[in-house]
Point group: D2
Chain length 260, copies 4
């Protein structure tokens, strides 16, 4: 009997980590790493500093989870959530810089980077702007064509990455609301975030097992995902993530790192 | 017959490059690359930005010269010439970050980093402060033990690097004055820089062929060097460097990249 | 007899100055101050640092020219020429911060700030985006309602500033090309800048004495201006500015600081 | 009968506030403002951003407490706790820049800055380095000679400020340990901070009413202070500060803002 047949599906749980900076602590990375399978590590532009990066990579290795790069706009004050108009040359070089910086900490310890996920405004801009998407995909390809690229299904970045032969990983957000077209409701909207643990968990289960999610405007939309993003910097982040894990496992979903 | 016997010695000429930033241009990197054999490329902390780094690495490759990392303190306003008190953990992580960032541009094109040379205040502090020297040497070792480390002969960094088994390259400065103990006269002193091309060239020849230099206080001091640093951001930088090259070659010194 | 009747008009010549940063020098501020009547001093966000600001203010006072603030986006790498999406609260606070910082150097010497001119992408965004325009105008009003605000005639910023009772100064660009709607051709276009001194001078004279300029697409457009912007960071900046001055004065136009 | 005779002394309670930055929150400024009489507001270099500054000043005004500037080294990653070697010109300009930036938010609302207190490494360096002390005192004098300058009693900054005629306020630290010479035990030492509320409160009372404190090495040292610093970013900051307040008031010490 095939072991996999027992499972209702497999999913990766990813979380943005290493977003502390100097004296400032954000989230509880150690606790979160107990619950997830892939860490998106900030690279010093929107968050993170070299010491934080070093510690986050070490911590992720100790937890046996995947390490990926989480590059963002050079905007610490805005936490990478403000779009900056950049040329393709600037974008590509900025991504290469951040990937290399993070890689340095991973290679020192002897583990590979597994994936790349753009942060915040860069993620959102790359989802709809082909020019930005191309620059990011090209940088990832040039850096290491074996890296998986996490994006919103159907996004410009997904298209640009596939066109270059990169492996695209479709990402869902359990605690964010969606618009009817499958894009995320912007954070500036009051109902962008879902904070009730049970609701988030139920949405996660539905996305993973039924490949569906209800848009903020009520429509049922298709949502095929290979990884689910959970957030570590919201109130009760741990409670929500634990609820998601338990609900998924209780339904028979296996939670394993991408590509393993 | 041994070809090398025709030569009065061999020397590498290194120069700090890629120190432009955004709208700001510093030095004429293209012209300088015609004259030198090793480029120390700024890594975005004291100078350089990702686009400048990308272009500088491409340019160096086109000129067939060695590419090395030139990490500095995180202080663009002070151009890395102001000492910042940092812990060893901060120093090591800061060096790893910068090495990785630069590496990213080199590996994308398929060339290796050959050497590391700390910049400005970091170079000077590492020459006399064992704690700083150790952190830098450890970072270089952890990143890539085959990297050559350029330092002042007899410096704390030379000792720390050798203790870790790194290959240390002894560096001389043709256009800087020395104190009797072999350390550089600080830039804040009026006679720290020599700006007369013929004088600089004569000192270069003497260092390379006779292994001696005259200190600012008149003493003859021993100065065994494997690479000479020339500067690209001084007035008549090209004229001085051309004079150095011609004088060396006229004396029968061969100018070749380190480790080749 | 009215002295003014001898003149074909009066105009102020303004220039962005104090845009050096640390080791990086941009433009020849001392030479430019001989030729202009109003200095727009960078405030440390897109260019300038505290030492540069101190020196620029001192220099401007020594030349007897008006000192104004030239606030920009917090983006040194992009020289303030990249738009950053910011909330109105962020914009207003950012402007207040920069105005206060510059004011500090002016008040120390006992001279007032006379005007404000947003820089680069902030200038352009404020010309068309009411939300950005309002935030800037509100900050200027809150800081000092007697400050003159330099803007593109007909811009959103001109409207927002007038609505708040601020004194708006209509600005023309002698060395930039215009679109048929009176907005500037973006710098990314190849013909955005005019570099021929005689052409720039002739356009300046025409704008000041006939209140007209020819758009890049050939149309004659009306262009009422009270100040002309000249640039200090282009090749032959001095030659162009001297040509503008001579052409204006030769035509009988009086060049005097705004508000005097 | 003299009302003051009822009191065992008067003291100001000051706290470093406005040290959040962008997405990062540090301390609970609103709660702390209920307990203190003077706010030292970060100015954007070691902590704080324009929006945080605006909000902190508004909050301080609403609480009726004194607003002072808390300038620091340009080092967000190090939270201003790392010394940076700077020239006197750089130091003076850096202080003027930060004072002006903060002043902008205070003047917009119509309240004055009352005092200046350097932050972290700048405070400590100014306590022992005459050159740094002079540059800071000169900047404060040039900016506004009526500003009070908070320093360690007997420090180089106290001397430099008095020599220029500034009003010096002697500051004590209830939750930091002292060395026998009256300087603070550096934060890098394990016993630099006292975290027991009752102990901190008892030390505060003793400093204010008996003008004495016990050094970390056991000596009784004289400690005349006009303001006590409490910290908002330590665990149980509120509990400690409440204990200090209650102990002081219970002893008959009046807690009022400086200069009122």
């Amino acid at each position: 009997m095939d072991m996999k047949s027992q499972y209702k599906g497999v999913i990766d749980l990813n979380c943005d980590l290493g977003e502390s900076f100097g004296r400032y602590t954000l989230g509880d990375d150690t606790a979160m790493m107990e619950l997830i399978t892939s860490a998106n590590v900030a690279c010093g532009f929107h968050a993170g500093d070299p010491v934080v990066m070093q510690r986050t990579v070490s911590l992720a290795i100790a937890h046996g989870i995947n390490i990926g790069a989480h590059p963002g706009y050079p905007d610490l004050q805005g936490f990478g959530r403000r779009t900056l108009s950049m040329t393709q040359e600037e974008l590509r070089a900025m991504i290469l810089y951040q990937l290399g910086a993070l890689q340095s900490f991973a290679r020192t310890i002897g583990v590979p980077l597994r994936h790349v996920k753009p942060h915040g405004a860069l993620y959102n801009t790359a989802a709809r702007d082909e020019r930005v998407a191309e620059a990011i995909a090209q940088a990832v390809l040039d850096f290491d064509p074996s890296l998986m690229l996490l994006t919103l299904p159907g996004s410009a970045l997904a298209q640009a990455a596939r066109a270059l032969g990169l492996r695209v990983i479709k990402e869902g957000f359990a605690d964010r609301t969606y618009q009817a077209d499958g894009t995320l409701v912007p954070r500036s909207h009051p109902n962008a975030l879902i904070t009730d643990a049970a609701t988030v968990a139920a949405r996660a289960v539905r996305m993973v097992t039924q490949h569906k999610v209800t848009a903020v405007t009520g429509e049922e939309i298709s949502m095929q995902v290979e990884t689910l993003c959970v957030h570590g910097d919201t109130p009760d982040a741990m409670g929500i993530t634990q609820a998601v894990r338990q609900a998924l496992e209780g339904t028979g979903v296996r939670i394993i790192p991408l590509g393993r």
